[in-house]
């Protein structure tokens, strides 16, 4: 009997011990899985840089392709370092006033999980900065642009981000919904782009003497399509990773994201058809991106049919928005303002209108409108001041001779397609004969 008692007590001890070990292991596993998901999602967001680079280069003329790529490449580099140094602290530091964070600047050591968050958020900051580059293509001083990227990632983006995504932010306290950043990332980029093109002015000959816009077709529509698809792929990380944990709702978020992208392209082309415009590839690609931008705010809080509506309207907004920009005689090379600014604002509003379980709640819609307006006022005017100062101190715009030669030569001293330059007045062999500007 004693033997049996002894055996049972040993068994009970082992059971308790193994349960304890299992509990500890499962805790570790959840953090590991969450970390894995967030860093992989961050890496997917990083891939969006390649999408932006291809899309924007494809929509620009061949003589500016290198410059567009270099702007995308270097704003990522400059933006990442500035966000680590300043931006992250402003955005996620202790926010006592509701307006900006006050610590976590230039972090040296932190818990493992915080590295993952910093990595993921850095990719978001770089995305906001790079949205601006496409709008300014083909006529912007390279270093002036990079200074703008510093301002974006160090101050403009993180300050607004702290209002929404910092638990102490004033918009966060109001219940403003922007799950993955229709406004925080995309509209912020779009409004900054709007300010920049106001300061910069249009490219030479973009508008004729009668004021009508002229088409300046991009040099590689294949790049545009591949860029669009890469962005779409990266968006699964952008929206899916914003859960910041490997939850079971990721499938729902990704399905919303995907359907909205598809509906965006359809909405844009339908709008082109209604307006008796040809079904341009650029309109289709921009429409899908506008759909993705629009669903970003409500991708976790919307049912599938409403994601489709949100995406489709986003596509329509991208077409109409671009027409408005042209009417205002502004030159946005890639349609960044309409795709990211206008569609982002619409998507943020839609997140309030179609909030699952609380649809058409006027209070929520009002909060969404306040958040949208606050983003426009803060970002547009601060960016306007920043770019105006850059224009006065360094000069935002290159000279007309730079525009004639193309920025690949004048800003970087190289040609994007040295072997295929037969249609250009400038060839790689003659670069050394050109006077340095």
């Amino acid at each position: 009997m004693n033997f049996i008692k002894k055996e049972l007590s040993i068994f009970a001890c082992l059971l308790c011990f193994s349960t304890a070990i299992y509990a500890e292991q499962s805790t570790v596993s959840i953090e590991v899985i969450n970390t894995l998901w967030v860093v992989i999602a961050g890496a997917l967001v990083f891939l969006m840089q390649a999408g932006f680079a291809l899309l924007e280069a494809g929509m620009s003329r061949a003589k500016n392709a290198v410059n567009v790529m270099m702007k995308n490449y270097m704003d990522l580099c400059v933006g990442s370092i500035l966000f680590w140094l300043v931006g992250y602290g402003l955005m996620f530091g202790n926010n006592l006033t509701g307006w900006f964070g006050t610590d976590l600047f230039a972090l040296e050591k932190m818990p493992d999980w915080d590295y993952s968050l910093l990595f993921f958020q850095t990719m978001f900051a770089a995305t906001a900065a790079t949205i601006v580059s496409g709008a300014l293509a083909e006529r912007t001083n390279y270093f002036a642009y990079l200074i703008g990227a510093i301002g974006m990632t160090a101050v403009i983006y993180p300050v607004y981000g702290s209002w929404v995504w910092n638990t102490g932010g004033w918009l966060n306290a109001m219940g403003f919904i922007d799950f993955a950043g229709s406004t925080v990332v995309h509209s912020v980029g779009g409004w900054a782009a709007l300010a920049a093109i106001v300061v910069l002015g249009p490219r030479l000959g973009r508008f004729g003497p009668d004021g009508k816009p002229r088409d300046l077709p991009g040099h590689n529509l294949s790049y545009v399509a591949i860029g669009g698809l890469l962005l779409w792929f990266g968006w699964f990380g952008f929206n899916g990773g914003s859960t910041l944990e490997a939850g079971t709702n990721i499938g729902h978020i990704l399905m919303n994201t995907h359907l909205a992208g598809a509906a965006g392209a359809l909405g844009a082309l339908l709008m082109c058809f209604i307006m008796r415009q040809p079904a341009l590839m650029t309109s289709g690609v921009n429409g899908s991106i506008a759909g993705l931008v629009a669903i970003t705010a409500g991708c976790a809080t919307m049912d599938l049919p409403y994601a489709v509506v949100t995406g489709a309207v986003g596509g329509v907004v991208s077409v109409l928005g671009h027409q408005l920009i042209l009417k205002l005689k502004l030159d946005d090379v890639v349609g960044a303002v309409s795709v990211h600014g206008f569609a982002g604002a619409w998507g943020t509003l839609a997140a309030g209108i179609f909030l699952a379980g609380n649809m058409y709640d006027l209070h929520q819609i009002k909060v969404q409108l306040i958040g949208i307006a606050a983003a426009f006022i803060w970002v547009f005017f601060s960016a306007l001041i920043m770019y105006w100062l850059v224009e006065k101190i360094i000069g935002m715009r290159v000279s007309t001779l730079h525009e004639q030669r193309g920025l690949d030569i004048t800003e970087h001293g190289e040609i994007g397609y040295p072997e295929f330059g037969h249609a250009s007045a400038y060839s790689a062999e003659q670069l050394s004969n050109l006077k340095k500007l």
Binding site: L204, G205, R206, R214, T400, Q404, A425, K435
Partner: protein, 213 residues
Amino acid sequence: MSIHNQRRAIFTGMRPFLKDADLKIALEIWQEKYVDKPKTAYTQFIAESCGTKELKGKRSAILNSIFNALTLPEKELLPDPFNQQTNQFDIAFIQQENHIEANLVFVEFMQTLLSHLGGENESKVRGYLVEHSEGKFNLNVQQMLALKMWLNNAKESFEISFSADDKRELINLAYIAMCQYIGPVKSDQVLSMSIKQTESFAKEKAVNVHAFL
């Protein structure tokens, strides 16, 4: 202002726009009918002396040019065209001694470039260049006049010495005008075609036409 200087001012103002024969006739009209008339009559003078289709579109520019010339200091006015000793209809005074190969290539390039535009666009671009060239180049009054005459098609040849920077500046000015009137895409094509067509001539003269860009 004396009649002598008024005539010089009218000559200076009209010189960039009119060919020698037309200019001579215009000055004779002024001498005969308008010499004692007030400035308000200059509009009528221009209407009478610039009756060709080409000049009709430039009447206001010519009138402005005359009014500008009337305000110039005496030393900046061209010599009196009716002075037999100076014989100012001989345009030798605007020619420079350092007539170098690069200028020939440059002129050939510009002519090719402008001829690609054809008709209305060519005259618009030429007009833009005349309007915007003032103060852009390192040229004296007479050289600037020669440039304007050439751009206005009032003179076929263009013999002044133009520095490399000025050449580049003029081509860029033409590019800006082309972007405005025919659009940037066609402008790049015209620039490229003109370079290619001038290359063989430039090689003959041992000049690198790409350096003008």
